[in-house]
Each structure stands twice: as C-alpha cells, then as structure tokens.
Amino acid sequence: MNPLLSVRHLRTSFETNGSIARAVDGVSFDLFPGETLGLVGESGCGKTVTALSILRLVSGPTGHIVKDSVIEYQGTDLLRLPPRELRRIRGAEIAMIFQEPTTSLNPVLTVGTQIAETLRAHTKMDRKGARRRAIELLELVGIPDPESRVDDYPHQLSGGMQQRVMIAMALSCDPKILIADEPTTALDVTIQAQILALLAKLKRRLGMAMILITHDLGIVAGLADRIAVMYGGQIVEQAPTDILFQHPQHPYTEALLKAVPRIDRPTTRLAAIPGMVPRATKWPTGCRFHPRCQHVWERCRVRMPDLLTWSPEQHSRCWLVEEPERRQE
C-alpha cells in the first residue's frame, strides 16, 4: 500500500536573535490511508512544528523549512506547490485542529460563518447551502440545538463545544487527513474523554487518516495504530502501539512509560526523567538524549545514531540496538 503522506528529512528552523533554533531536525515518517499515527513527546520536542510544517503554516520572517525537506501528499510535494494550489489542499484534503479552541476561533465571527467559509472556499456551495451544511456538521459533532448554535459567537460556547466546532470545521470538506495537535490538552478531563471518543468515532465513520499529536501516552494508547516518539526535533522511536508499549527500545520511550502513574501497581513516588529538554538552539552532541540517559556510554556522547532497525516494524534511534548488552537493568 502506498502511503498517503510521506515526510522525508523535514527540517524546520527558526531564527531568534542571531541564533538558529533547529526545532525539527530531520523527521521522516509515512502515514497510510485510514491509519492513526500518534506523535508523542515532551513540550519543545518539535511535535507541533512538524504538524504546522506539513501545511506550511510555519510562517513569518523567523521560521522556515529547510530546502531539501520533502512532504509528499499523494505524489505531490507540498513544499514545492504554488500557494494557490497549496490552498486547495489546506482544509479540503488535509485539515487541522489545534490545542486551544478558545484562541483558534475568530472571536468576532459566528461559528456558522467560520464553518461556512471553509465550505465556500473549497466547494461551489452557495451561502444558504453552506449554512445548512454547517448545521449538519454541528449536529455530527454532537452539539445540541445546532440550528440556534450556528449563530453563536465562540465566546458563547464552552471549551469542549468550541473544540467540537473546530472539529466540525476541519471535517467540513471530508479531508483525507486530519492533523489533531493536542486536541484535548486545554480541556477538562471529562471533556477530554468525550472529545477523544468523538474523534475516534468520526475517524471510523469517515475513514480518514489522522496524525494525533500529544504529550499524553494515555491518549495515543487508545487511539493510535502506530506511534512515533519525538525528542530533540527528531523521531527517536517508531513502532506499532502495542509493541511500543510492551517492548520500548529507546531509553527515552522507556522513561516516558515509567513516568505514567499506574493504578494497578503500588507506587511510592512518581518517576520523572531527570534533567530538561535541551534547547533547540543548542542540541547536545552525539545522541540528543544522552545527558538524561541512564545507559549512556562513550559512543553516545560522540556520534548520533540513525533510526536503527530493531525489527521490521520497530525502529529506535539508539546505539543499544547495535549493542544490546550495554543495557543496564
């Protein structure tokens, strides 16, 4: 099966006060039709910038995608598409929802207007048709009383309802790919569960592929088919969800899993990963995780490993793949 989306050595940099932050530094992955890929990692590891780069939303004078990066969607490289044609992909073929629904919706336009304008940008629908469809979409995402809600302004809705509107907007043109960037982080725990259930249901029903970005392993565990773990602007481990959870290969993945509190085992204290995420302006030499790694040896400090193949399905950016005897228990 051909991948729907192929990202190859994506590099995105930001220039800040003379120094260059390599926020995304050589990320490659495939997304297949109908699949959900979880992109996991701590804040500052480059998840969001990866997502924004796909639709070329890293804009402004400071951020840019480095030239030899490739983002291939159904055979066309999005990075080389003229703006006009890129706009036909944005929102129609690849849609996106964001972390903060409150700030991601325009405060001075009604939610109906905001949904309808997506429809009108990509289809030949007239004003009335777009409004009717907007009401249907609001109903689809489980907003009660959609006929009157369609004329509400974002501030008249709760955070959970606002995120439902964002989802309705993203799904309005039946996209093939939905990129969800921390879609539940800003919401209450109970609302989080509802939104995730909604996303899972809609994904099944519409058969689209999804990139789910989160720092919360619990969220991807239930939703993702495959997981890519990011650290320091790179993917450090990639595997199907169950394999990753049962046999993590990269020490960072391992540490992340240990940091999840368990209710089925007695625990005295929460496990945290020592140290902090390094800054994108100054990545460590060698393996980027080595200053925080418990297995570290000389080779890690000097040379950065590639994404090495552990099994056909599992890849880890760690020298332990080549020297498993170095693993310390």
């Binding site: 924004l52 639709l55 939303l57 804009s59 402004g60 004078p61 703006p83 706009r87 036909r88 992909i89 944005r90 929102g91 129609a92 849609a95 996106m96 964001f98 903060e100 700030t103 991601s104 919706l105 325009n106 405060p107 001075v108 336009l109 304008e117 997506t118 940008a121 990509h122 302004y153 501030h155 964002m166 907007m169």
Partner: protein, 324 residues
C-alpha cells in the same frame, strides 16, 4: 440597554455641570471683565463702567452670579453675549454646523487615511515601504498642528494657489452660486483645514492600526484561517482587520477631545467661522457667557462621541454585547 443609556445620561449631566462650574470659576478669577475688555479707551468715565457692570450684574458676589448662571442653565438658557449683543445660543447655533463639518471631515481623513496606511504597513512589515511610512507618520505626529496648518497654507494656498487660505465659503461670490457651485466652494474651503486637523490624527491612527494588525496576525485564529485554505486576502481583510478594529474604536473614543481642541487652533489659523474660533475670540474679550457656553457644548460633544464609541464597540466586538 435602557439602563445603560440612563447611567450614561446621568454621567453626561454630571460632566456638563462640572465643566460649567470650572469654566465659570476660572474665568471669574482671571483678571479683567467684559466691560473693561470692550472699552478701548481709558477716557471712559468710571461711573459709566460701574453702571455697565451693574446692568449685567457683574458687581454681585461671585457665588450669587454662579447660582444665577446655574438657574438659567437648568432652563437651557446659556445667557447673553456681551460682544455679540444677543443670546449665546443664537450666536453659537450658526457656528456649530461649521465646526461639525470640519470635525467630521477631519475624522474621515484621520481614520480613512490612517487605517489605510497602517494596514498597508502591516501587510508588508519591516519592508522599505513600512519603514518609510513609519518615519513619515512619526514626523507628522511630531508636528504642531498649527505649524502644519501654516505650512500647508503656504504651499497649497499661497504657493500653488490650489486652495483658498481662509473662511468657510467665498464671501463675495457664494450667494450667487448654483447649488453645485456652493457645494464645490465649501469643499475647496474645507480641504486644507480638514486635512491639517486630520493628518496628525491619521498618523496616530496609522501607528495604532499597524501595531494592532501585527498583533492580530500572530494569533491562533489567523493560523486557523490559513489552515482552512482561505486566501491571504480573505485572511487579512476578513479575519485580521475586523479584530484589529477593536483598538481603533478605543482610539476613536479618545479622539473627540483632541479633535475639538485641535479645531480651536485650526479655526483660528484658517479663519474658519466655527465654535472654536468663536470661543477664542470670546476669551480675549472676556465674554464670560460665550466661553462657558461653548465649553459646555464642547463637553456635550465629547460625551456624545464617547457614547458613540461605546455603541460602535458593541457592533464590532460581539463579546461586549452580553447581558443587555
């Protein structure tokens, strides 16, 4: 809404009362009075002056005069103009339209030109055009308004002869003009004073507009609009500009006092027969009632302008429409 308007009316009345009191007290504490000011010759006999003061009640203690003024004011009577020899209201009434015309035209220049320049700058931030316009707006903003008026008058009025340099209409020919001719005559007379009064404000507006746009353009919902596949034009004009209007409306509310005080200067420079020039002339002649009366009318205009800005806010920002 009704409650809101009621509160605002009470506030307005309080402000007008305060302005009337302050103006009245300050004027009466200043040396001189209308009788002295109107008497050019020192040879006028003392008894005549005293007689005139008695006629106008100016010999009474200040608090008596003040209470009488308030009593008249509460009936809508602004008093008698010593210089015009008729009621203040009659004298002011024929000058208000001129001031309103000048202020409205200046507002159009200020917001039309200012928002346009600011939006253009924000569309190409940190470019040469942006830098050039920033320097230009800062330069205009730094100019004293009367000096700018004199310079424009010098260049476009006296030098190039494109526009008349004073008055609201052509004194001689105006009565004999056709309707279209009258409109044209008013327009050419209005051009320079309105431009002068509006330009400084336009510079301020442009700087606000640029900053507001650049602030909005970074926000999440603009990114959402782009992610939806909207054109840059739609993103800029529909999503960014509408939101950048909010600080501009605030500026609009703050503009009225500046506009009226600017009008005082500009009307004097361009011999514009409006309220501002009338007030300045009255001040020189210690025409108490005219000064106080025009101050009250100006205060009322400022209050109304602020009310207008508040109502505009409700139009522009749905979040302020709540619970009314």
């Amino acid at each position: 809404m009704v409650r809101y308007l009621a509160v605002r009316s009470v506030q307005a009345a309080a402000i007008v009362f305060l302005v009337a009191t302050l103006t009245f007290v300050l004027l009466h504490l200043a040396p001189g009075d209308p009788v002295i000011a109107s008497t050019e010759s020192t040879l006028v006999r003392r008894e005549v002056i005293e007689q005139q003061r008695r006629n106008f009640g100016l010999d009474r203690p200040i608090h008596v005069q003040y209470l009488r003024y308030l009593r008249n004011l509460s009936r809508g009577d602004l008093g008698y103009s010593f210089r015009e020899r008729r009621s203040v209201w009659h004298a002011v009434r024929e000058r208000i339209p001129n001031t309103l015309l000048l202020a409205t035209a200046a507002l159009l220049v200020m917001f039309g030109l200012g928002m346009l320049i600011g939006a253009v700058q924000a569309a190409v931030p940190r470019s040469r055009a942006d830098d050039a316009l920033s320097i230009l707006t800062l330069a205009v903003y730094s100019m004293p308004v009367f000096w700018l008026g004199l310079m424009l008058m010098l260049v476009f009025g006296l030098g190039l002869g494109w526009f008349p340099v004073g008055g609201a209409v052509d004194q001689v020919l105006y009565p004999h003009m056709s309707l279209l001719g009258k409109v044209g005559d008013r327009a050419v007379h209005l051009f320079l004073p309105a431009l002068t009064l509006g330009l400084v404000g336009a510079a301020v507006t442009a700087r606000y507009q640029r900053a507001a746009m650049l602030d909005v353009i970074r926000q999440d919902f603009v990114r959402t609009a782009r992610a939806k596949g909207l054109s840059e034009r739609t993103v800029f004009l529909k999503h960014a500009l509408r939101n950048a209007l909010l600080p501009i409306v605030t500026l609009f509310g703050l503009t009225f006092p500046l506009l009226l005080s600017g009008a005082v200067l500009i009307e004097s420079v361009f011999a514009w027969p409006g309220m501002g020039k009338f007030a300045v002339d009255a001040l020189h002649g210690r025409d108490y009632n005219v000064v106080t009366g025009t101050a009250i009318i100006a205060a009322a205009m400022v209050v109304l302008g602020n009310l207008l800005a508040d109502l505009l806010y409700r139009v522009v920002d749905p979040r302020t429409r709540e619970s009314s």
